[in-house]
Subunit: 406 residues, 2 copies
């Protein structure tokens, strides 16, 4: 199949407009803080959320709103997480009501999300004051401003779109997301909003989303902390007029592949833009006895503070990779493990059969100094593989998180 | 019972001498790299080790040597971990043989340990050349030099001793240990060598050690990385002439309490001297439904990169504590949780029933700016409690680990 990446983000699919403004939840006027995505017709929808027991109030409200598999809009603020507040639910429902009234739709068709500091109250006044501007400014080029409005410590906007065909009909998927700390998703991640004009039932949308999330967002870690507000939501307008997908047929597989390619793009960019990160680090585990083993090993390496710090220093300290594999909790034969580093700077083998081998420190430094580094682990015990996505641990991560609230 | 802390470290108990020298495993002559602890008579012994599948060669050799519950000496080098080397076992046995010959004892009475870089070969020549000086210098004040010789990135020596009575007889426990990165013990931790002149069987020594380790070393985390070489070993000379402990009687409980007090001292000092750390952070969880829940919660908070970075910045970002409790995997009612911070600077409540409350940022800053900070979490769901020990995440942790090998 042919997937073509395009511009346009969440407004690339037919039927969707978007906008993002500064309404005043954040003090700094330079930073947008309220985003809206809207569809001209009712959409099939599905979402996955954080598994954290401490769960943001917007998630509770969203779950309820889309329990019928239908939605028409996403409203999201940054700056305040609206989590661990006694009046959180009330505020999240208030945000839906304000938005629904301005759009002239039912408040149960709204997906609501918040990201920012936990435990500080959300003031609805700025939302009330800004909603008119937000709604009147909805447009086909609005994905950019919406993507900007949901950013917190992110340094780059995360926005992708692609085009493919379903039964001869041109079909689109668009997405925006935000990182960039408290990133260690469990069944879902942070905020990602995806739109499509594919015609697909909410049940199959959910199935497809779960399938894709397992290999993309759930294989991402910036700092091992699973957020309280993770949400990935997808809305399907059906306006590309393909035959409606209601079972796992060829069109379902095509759609899922396209969704997967978009999510992989988001995840790599979120990893690379992890708080303070200077490089994207991918751990590719091959030769595992099963996928679960491969995934656990890949994530253990990506999550190790010591591996991350070594990557920051471009130091080929592969012993820390073996160490992480060893404590990951899976049953592997450590005496079979081979480790290589790879990047645009070249490839270098550093460990064979679980033991160190002579290698050029100079070449290793060159390989590890690139801004996208691959850690290749071969367990030589089977045919399963997995990839985990992360970043290095830097001074700036500490700086950003030593004083996040002020 | 009365426990009096004394000087003398591992040489405080009757029968033990120690020494530490620079033999040349490390390049810098300013840093000692080989330690020896020796007992004039055969000791009962017990040890616990890392659960990492990638396990240092010295551990394999030590397990075999003390399978009879007897030992007379500990030899340990720093600089090289002797792990993930094809000839590791051979080298560890070589180290035992060199030491045994110099001491005139059986090589199966030696506990051998190594700490340092993983995957680099251990050269035995410096050990051969230095062993004469090391053995001839054994003395009753040698604990200090032994404690120095096992240090890696540690900035302070870890050495404690105490005196108590068993059946009227004065009895002693002494210990040395090292941190300070790759610290997240699982059933054991890093290197800690403990001596005692109590008369106690190796079986009861093991029982007591396991009991104590569960609440001390296993509740410590610097960076979430479980080392490949963790070893806690204890040797009992029996020279204090108490009635031999062979069952869980009052003397066993007295001994275990004394051992526990020494291990708690070591663990707090290891946490406070964690790589790059500026402060000791303890999380005390109370009101849990069971001890396992309390321990899991306390460790989740202590291990969170975001909590650790906030502690570095003396930032009362308590939402991250709730977040860590929520993803810890235990079943708690997050709407009951109270959180306070406490230190020599005072005490301040920041979260009540899972929601934020107004508090003085000024007082919070004062409380969190001290060098020993307590995070007090009350789950209000039972009577069980637990404490976990850790430190803050700092620029220096990243600096130390960005280029550890050079």
């Amino acid at each position: 199949m042919d997937i073509k990446f395009t511009d346009g983000g969440v407004t690339a699919p037919k039927g969707f407009t978007a906008n993002g403004i500064h309404c005043g939840i954040r003090k700094s006027k330079d930073k947008k803080d309220l985003a809206l995505i809207f569809c001209e017709k009712e959409c099939d929808t599905a979402a996955v959320y954080t598994q954290n027991l401490v769960c943001g109030a917007p998630i509770t409200v969203t779950k309820n709103n889309i329990s019928d598999g239908k939605a028409r809009a996403v409203v999201c603020n940054s700056g305040i997480a609206n989590t661990c507040n006694a009046d959180g639910i009330e505020k999240a429902e208030g945000m839906c009501e304000i938005t629904a009234n301005a759009l002239g739709i039912s408040k149960s068709d709204i997906i609501v999300a918040s990201t920012g500091v936990i435990g500080q109250p959300l003031d609805l006044e700025p939302v009330k004051n800004g909603i008119g501007e937000l709604v009147s400014g909805l447009n086909k080029n609005g994905s950019d401003s919406a993507a900007n409005a949901i950013m917190t410590t992110d340094t780059v906007k995360k926005e992708f779109a692609c085009e493919f065909t379903l039964g001869g009909k041109p079909c689109h998927i668009g997405a925006i997301s935000k990182g960039s700390g408290m990133i260690h998703p469990n069944m879902a991640t942070m905020l990602a909003f995806i739109t499509t004009d594919a015609n697909i039932s909410s049940e199959m949308l959910k199935t497809s989303l779960l399938e894709v999330v397992a290999d993309s967002f759930n294989m991402l870690s910036v700092d091992g902390d699973t957020s309280t507000n993770d949400t990935v939501a997808i809305l399907a307008s059906g306006l590309c007029e393909n035959e409606r997908i209601t079972e796992k047929n060829d069109d379902y597989r095509t759609f899922t592949l396209a969704l997967s390619s978009i999510c992989e793009k988001l995840v790599k960019l979120m990893a690379k833009d992890g708080e303070g990160a200077t490089k994207l680090v991918e751990c590719v585990v091959t030769g595992a006895s099963d996928v679960k083993t491969a995934k656990t090993c890949a994530k253990a390496v990506i999550c190790s503070s010591l591996v991350k710090a070594a990557m920051f220093g471009s130091d080929a300290n592969w012993g820390r990779i073996l160490c992480a594999l060893g404590y990951s909790g899976v049953d592997i034969d450590v005496h079979r493990v081979d480790v290589k580093f790879s990047s645009d700077g070249g490839e270098i083998e550093v460990c064979k059969d679980g033991s160190g081998i002579d290698f050029s420190e100079e070449l290793a430094k060159k390989v590890l100094s690139c801004d996208e580094v691959y850690i290749l682990v071969d367990l030589k015990s089977g045919a399963s593989c997995a990839t985990a996505y992360g970043c290095d641990l830097t001074y700036d991560y500490v700086k950003i998180n030593g004083d996040y609230r002020t």
